[in-house]
């Protein structure tokens, strides 16, 4: 790692399946960082929503951010909306990386049709390489809230608890960046994650 301001840069890798809301989760995070006066950069992958491909978004914020792509070994958080996706990006992290992941399992076209195997023991493997792992049954929590599509914001709440922004900053970002009729639901979802005791 170079000796400049990298220690002051937080890097989060959001990942999941197209359509799950990976980009919304990463957008709320950049909104909070921007509001806090930081330099912010993020990457996005477009076009995979609905079509079931894997999606990843790198978010970096701090005093000065150069590369929007996170360098290997500098991922502070992996936020995964699907059970096996942390393994796809594991090489980007270190044993200190926090992994917050959904337990939900979503077949890919290849695993569903038997062309490839959906691996057994994905959660255990993630916990083996990343001691700081929290798996959350976010789908169950989302269904309890009445909307399965809030898994992304629930998991965001869990991760946010481990970060340095205040709850109010996140709430402000949700109010500012979501359609008015969705704000209440997402505030509840975020709070569910924030208060998640495992």
């Amino acid at each position: 790692m170079s000796e400049n301001t990298n220690e002051q840069v937080t890097s989060i890798l959001f990942c999941g399946v197209g359509g799950q809301g990976v980009l919304l989760a990463s957008n709320l995070t950049t909104a909070v960082a921007l509001e806090a006066g930081m330099d912010v950069k993020k990457t996005e992958v477009h076009g995979m929503a609905q079509r079931g491909g894997n999606v990843d978004s790198h978010v970096r914020f701090g005093k000065t951010v150069h590369s929007p792509i996170i360098p290997q070994g500098e991922v502070n958080f992996i936020l995964a909306l699907e059970q096996v996706e942390p393994l796809r990006w594991a090489h980007m992290g270190t044993k200190d990386t926090w992994v917050i992941s959904n337990t939900q399992k979503i077949h890919s076209l290849f695993t569903g049709t038997g062309i490839a195997e959906y691996p057994e023991g994905a959660q255990e493997e993630v916990k083996r390489v990343f001691p700081n792992t929290i798996y959350v049954d976010a789908l169950k929590l989302a269904e309890e809230l009445g909307n399965a599509r809030t898994v992304n914001v629930i998991l965001l709440g869990v991760m946010a608890r481990k970060m340095d922004f205040e709850l109010e900053h996140w709430q402000a970002a949700i109010k500012k960046n979501m359609k008015p009729k969705l704000v209440d639901l997402n505030l509840k979802a975020f709070e569910t994650g924030w208060n998640y005791a495992g």
Partner: protein, 595 residues
């Protein structure tokens, strides 16, 4: 005021702030969002063009009509627009003209990763290459000024990681730029050979003015630091260089054609080592070497293929860099994009595969039918090539004395409008027998559901008319009896139509109508499988529908949250184990043949 924008949003914002009046584009990843955002500004006449050539010609005409104009496209789109590109370089502009090329290193969604910087050099057109969204916004505005001051169209070159990455920009106000008068200037605007010969002199003579402009506006810069190492770079690579080599002297080019080599010579004279770090071709490197600048490291070490990123640079160039400390024993499975549950295209490809047809494919959502398990596409070259290459296939088959009955091509409605019509007319004109299947979901889907002439709507919601593809096929000269329409959700009907067309003489057209499930957003019902009874014959699985998967006993099961109720799986189950969720399962005595 600060905002976080993607590069595409920054282009649109910069153009708006620069007083752009006319903007045109054809969708293409990663450029699509430029015009989507331009369309939101009421001061701009923004439109989807039928293809990139038309978009550039539209912008060129608007420029000559006195308006600041912009067109945008992906890298391969510039191939389609190359003809007007080169000649507009000779003609110059009236209102400033900015042409955006959004390249796709690593081919996130493209059929090649051509490096469009070469176009600027070949067309002798000034080119600006921003490194992030803030610069993209600034360079877009500067681009219009440069274009007008130096009388040349400007190429603004971005890449996927600029177009689709977000970074901070400083928002400004819109400048009111009056549209100039149309000027009659025969020698400048009519490119007869006699005029073009004189214009070429101008094209060469104006080159220093581009560098003058760059100097005046500090578009290139030297960041002096370490005397040991200087790195020459441009575009998104600049960020990776700063990340990995924070202490190196950096020569950052913002004007990347023409390249002001004097800056490189200035740096070269003062440092021990000079490296060139750029994505793609050794474009900057070769330019510097040709000017006599000694380059100590370039594409001999920096990868030629795909994207760069800080990890690649560290591993190659920073001693003592450790390899990844995490390696896993369990791998994430491949997760490719697939045709959506309920996509109408699926039905046609199922039938073509079962018919063992030779399928020339094209560019769009339907290209996804090429991957397993559908695996129903044999060639795919570029926009519109499905039809025109089928002409060649037919002629080759004739020459070989080979039966070409089941040769067909598959093309979407937007792709057909883009560059399929010409191929169809040619097939009629040159007597080539094959079946053209137009997959009409009346939307440009893959790039994010943009409207097109078959949709019958415009970007900014004006009244327009809608093209009927059957009428279009007739207008191209296809015989009326050789034109069919079909609902691809009805697999039996689809098979009948396709088989009828194998027997037709002369070019024939099938217009396959469906509604894009994403655009439609409604669900009829769901289908369920009697999983316990399933015999694992694989018929439903071979449809490649993401809603259908094999459970741990290899029996089929349908995910109700994904199923849209299209019924195709029910149609292909020989034992009729698949039925609507609101209907009872009815056992049958023996299996049936399925389409």
């Amino acid at each position: 005021m600060k905002a976080l924008l993607t590069g595409d949003e920054a282009v649109a914002r910069g153009a708006w702030e620069a007083g752009v009046a006319v903007a045109a584009a054809y969708p293409g990843t990663p450029s699509t969002e430029i015009m989507e955002n331009m369309g939101k500004y009421k001061e701009v006449r923004a439109q989807w063009s039928i293809n990139e050539k038309v978009s550039l010609e539209t912008a060129a005409g608007a420029s000559l009509g006195g308006a600041r104009s912009l067109c945008a496209m992906k890298h391969v789109g510039l191939n389609v627009a190359a003809d007007p590109l080169f000649t507009m370089s000779y003609i110059g502009v009236q209102g400033g003209l900015v042409i955006v090329t959004a390249d796709d290193p690593a081919m996130h969604s493209s059929q090649n990763e051509q490096d469009n910087r070469h176009y600027a050099r070949a067309a002798k057109m000034p080119m600006l290459e921003p490194a992030d969204s803030g610069e993209t916004l600034d360079y877009t505005k500067l681009g219009f000024e440069l274009s007008e001051e130096c009388d040349a169209p400007l190429l603004l070159r971005i890449t996927t990681r600029i177009a689709h990455s977000q970074s901070i920009v400083e928002l400004g106000e819109r400048k009111d730029v009056p549209v100039r008068d149309f000027v009659r200037d025969f020698e400048k605007q009519v490119m007869l050979p006699s005029n073009a010969r004189k214009r070429h002199v101008v094209v060469e003579d104006r080159i220093p003015s581009f560098m003058e402009f760059a100097r005046k506006h500090n578009i290139n810069r030297i960041e002096w630091a370490d005397e040991d190492l200087a790195i020459v770079t441009s575009g998104v690579s600049y960020n990776y260089v700063k990340e990995v080599f924070p202490n190196a002297t950096v020569l950052k080019y913002g004007l990347t054609w023409p390249v002001d080599v004097e800056l490189a010579k200035e740096v070269r004279a003062k440092v021990k080592k000079l490296w060139v770090i750029e994505e793609g071709d050794p474009y900057l490197e070769d330019t510097l070497k040709a000017a006599g600048v000694q380059v100590d490291l370039g594409k001999d070490k920096i990868p030629l293929l795909y994207e760069l990123n800080p990890t690649i640079l560290r591993e190659l160039l920073v001693e003592g860099t450790e390899a990844a400390s995490i390696s896993v024993d369990v791998q994430a499975p491949p997760r490719p994009p697939a045709l959506c549950p309920g996509c109408g295209h699926r039905g046609m490809f199922r039938i073509l595969k079962r018919e063992k047809a030779i399928v020339a494919g094209d560019i769009g959502c339907y290209t996804l039918a090429a991957i397993p398990p559908l695996s129903a596409m044999d060639t795919c070259i570029c926009m519109g090539a499905s039809i025109s290459s089928s002409i060649g296939m037919a002629k080759a088959a004739e020459a070989a004395g080979r039966d070409n009955k089941k040769s067909c091509c598959v093309i979407g409605d937007s792709t057909f409008m883009h560059s399929g019509i010409t191929g169809l007319i040619d097939a009629v004109y040159n007597n080539a027998t094959f079946t053209t299947i137009i997959l009409d979901n009346h939307i440009t889907a893959m790039t994010g559901h943009q409207v097109n002439p078959v949709t019958g709507e415009t970007l900014q919601g004006q009244d327009t008319f809608h093209i009927d593809l059957v009428t279009m096929a007739k207008a191209c000269g296809v015989k009326e009896e050789n034109i069919s329409t079909v609902d691809t959700y009805d697999l039996t009907a689809t098979r009948e139509v396709v088989r009828k067309h194998w027997e037709m003489e002369g070019p024939s057209v099938i217009v396959a109508k469906s509604n894009c499930v994403i655009a439609l957003r409604q669900k009829d019902t769901e289908y369920v499988v009697e999983t316990d009874l399933c015999k694992s014959c694989g018929n439903c699985i071979s449809l490649g529908c993401p809603a259908i998967s094999k459970d741990e006993n290899k029996k089929s099961t349908i995910d109700p949250t994904l199923c849209t109720g299209c019924s195709m799986c029910a149609q292909v189950c020989p034992w009729q184990f698949i039925h609507r969720v609101d209907e009872e399962y009815v056992p049958v005595v023996k299996p049936r043949k399925v389409p």
